[in-house]
């Protein structure tokens, strides 16, 4: 892909995911009243992690970095995901 077009494409993907959140948002609600939903939470966190990985890879150009940095950033995405989902579900269990 052309280096000039590529940032634009990535930006479009990221923006589309962001707008997708709005749909996700309203799907969970009961006529304006917010309802708890583990599905929405998991999807929201998952999508955020996809965006984070895209930002790492494309915007921060880890794509062209040594493999070590690629691995570390991927590990970080997994780590963040595990911590977020873990704390959410532990909180649910502790309720």
């Amino acid at each position: 892909m052309n280096a000039k077009v590529r940032p634009l494409v990535i930006w479009l993907i990221l923006s589309a995911i962001t707008l997708g959140y709005l749909a996700l948002d309203s799907s969970a609600d009961d006529h304006g009243a917010y309802r708890a939903s583990s599905v929405v939470t998991t999807i929201a966190i998952g999508l955020a992690l996809v965006k984070v990985r895209l930002i790492f890879r494309e915007f921060m150009q880890v794509r062209n970095a040594p493999a070590l940095l690629c691995r570390i950033t991927d590990l970080w995405v997994l780590l963040i995901g595990a911590a977020l989902l873990g704390s959410y579900f532990i909180g649910l269990a502790a309720r």
Binding site: W11, A36, Q61
Partner: protein, 206 residues
């Protein structure tokens, strides 16, 4: 963390020869040292997020009711503004790398403009919330909301200083350290990256 710092080229090392030789050498953009900050801050924020999510699921009723006072539209706008700023930042780095300093400068200014728009939007949101009676001490949700958005905004303000460094580097023909520009860009993207997480955790999570 030390390994990353030592794995890359030493700070200030000139890697022009490798590129000139036509080898697309894999390299870390900017100082590898900046990645220590990025990864460390990402972990610190993850700790904040984990504490927030745990409390959130333990008291979901209060959090859901309070969350309804946030405007998902404003949050989405904020996210789009920062994503756009990050795109301009990437283009700025690409232009600087290609030696197109005029274009790099324009993109740096666009980055700053998007960041400023985010700042304005955030302050507006805070203003509206405080007017609606929601403050830092109102309840658990707003405590986390103002803390997370506040500490993120502080990172953004630091980002403006860093953007100033980029513009200063690009302006003087004798400066133009590509390494510094790339280092600063990495920081700017981190601000974006953290916001992406904060947005989904404060506005979307149920």
């Amino acid at each position: 963390m030390t390994e990353i710092a030592e794995a890359g080229p030493p700070p200030g090392a000139d890697r022009q020869p490798a590129e000139a030789a036509g080898k697309p050498a894999r390299h870390i953009p900017g100082q590898p040292d900046m990645w220590v900050l990025v990864l460390f801050e990402a972990l610190v924020f993850t700790a904040y997020f984990a504490v927030y999510l745990y409390h959130r699921s333990a008291y979901s009723g209060l959090f859901l009711r309070s969350q309804a006072s946030l405007s998902p539209w404003l949050g989405t706008l904020d996210t789009l503004l920062l994503l756009t700023s990050s795109m301009f930042m990437l283009r700025c780095v690409q232009a600087a790398r290609a030696g197109a300093f005029r274009s790099a400068m324009a993109n740096a200014h666009l980055t700053g403009a998007m960041g400023a728009a985010f700042l304005a939007s955030k302050i507006t949101e805070w203003f509206l919330l405080v007017h609606g009676g929601h403050t830092f001490t109102s309840n658990q949700f707003f405590m986390y909301y103002f803390f997370l958005t506040g500490i993120h905004l502080l990172h953004l303000l630091i980002g403006f200083i860093i953007l100033g460094v980029i513009i200063y580097q690009l302006r003087g023909p004798r400066r133009r350290s590509l390494e510094l520009v790339e280092t600063c860009a990495t920081y700017w993207h981190t601000v974006d990256l953290l916001w992406v997480l904060i947005f989904s955790l404060l506005y979307v999570v149920r």
